[in-house]
Subunit: 220 residues, 2 copies
């Protein structure tokens, strides 16, 4: 997932009354809580690229889909979440994400504040590291990716998975609600593809890709 | 979805201190709030069939998957949610479910308290009616269904959809976290099928079935 809409409240709006009030209600400091448009709508008016921010629910539902997929259960999926403010979350395939949204939010806050979950583990289920998309590619050892974007040429999910396997390139989907990928990410695309003629929610794209890979790999 | 884990707090536990405290915090009466195991765990110990109850998140994520699916966008899906305490929620295919869980909870509370959403609409997006699973089948005009259950024989999602179209029977998935269907529901199954050798989360089953139907109908 690239440019996922998941981050702590940024310093520019940490003093906004709505942000302070919400954080206090939860006994936290404003900089320790997740940015969430359903709570911080008014405060977010001042933020740059705000159409891509404050939607941790997208990451939540998409991770629920991916980690519970037969593809992941069979050990054939590795999931990375690159966020809109350049963190990378490494997800252990065996991680069980909280089903309840409010517990997910608490877990992500711990993750982004401490850097890993559980906080004192040598082999954490989740790890968060400041890292650009480009550096994530270096770390994974690839130079280019298959990018899913509304503007791409229509391909079937199964075909996309075959391309991914044959080229050894990861499939990248946007983790933000509106707008387009950053040009620096688009530059890394060897293929820009789309699976449907209209925009789809991130979790639907994720499940269709997983489903396509499951058919390709004869898992389902 | 059958026996979905979505209901208001039942009278037996409405006086439990944890339930009263949580409701008060939200300015509501205990009987007006959704039963949620992440809030009411201690109070739920006394409930019958409690392993099937208090998980509105399952309905939320599954509806997000189904209503955003190309199958639904193309007008080829009708969704009904039968709940564990025998309500039926009729979902207008054009309904946009809140992405945020807490807003979804607020909407479901309004729905179950008032019977429809928006409350004063002649053509509501969601309607909730006290109705058994059997009466839902009568209302839909079918006598039997294709039931997805861990114990069923393995079939491919696309095959299941073909059966559904050919027999004119709806596909039914369980909307509860653990346990088996009520025997009265199993009696209505003309086919009991499974799409994977291990249990899957409801939203994964829903997305794989939708994906299978999309391929069958050449939507994707």
């Amino acid at each position: 997932m690239a440019e996922a809409s998941l981050e702590l409240v940024p310093p520019e709006i940490a003093h906004h009354p709505a942000v302070v009030r919400n954080a206090r209600k939860r006994g936290k400091s404003p900089r320790e809580v997740l940015l969430d448009i359903s709570l911080h709508y008014a405060a977010m008016k001042k933020l740059r690229i705000r159409e891509k921010r404050g939607r941790p629910d997208i990451v939540h539902v998409t991770l629920l889909e991916l980690l519970s997929s037969p593809l992941n259960i069979e050990g054939r999926l590795t999931t990375f979440v690159h966020t809109v403010n350049d963190y990378v979350i490494e997800v252990d395939p065996s991680a069980r994400i909280p089903r309840n949204y409010n517990r997910f939010v608490g877990l992500m806050e711990q993750l982004l504040n401490v850097g890993k979950v559980p906080p004192d583990s040598e082999e954490p289920l989740l790890r968060a590291i400041p890292m650009t998309f480009d550096n994530l590619l270096k770390r994974v050892g690839v130079e280019s990716v298959i990018l899913l974007s509304e503007e791409g040429e229509i391909m079937k999910p199964e075909e996309l998975c075959r391309e991914s396997v044959e080229r050894g390139e990861p499939i990248v989907i946007g983790g933000f609600p509106h707008g387009d990928f950053d040009p620096l990410i688009k530059e890394r695309a060897s293929v820009i593809a789309s699976i449907y003629k209209r925009p789809l929610d991130t979790w639907v794209v994720a499940s269709r890709i997983a489903s396509g890979c499951e058919r390709l790999l004869k898992i389902m």
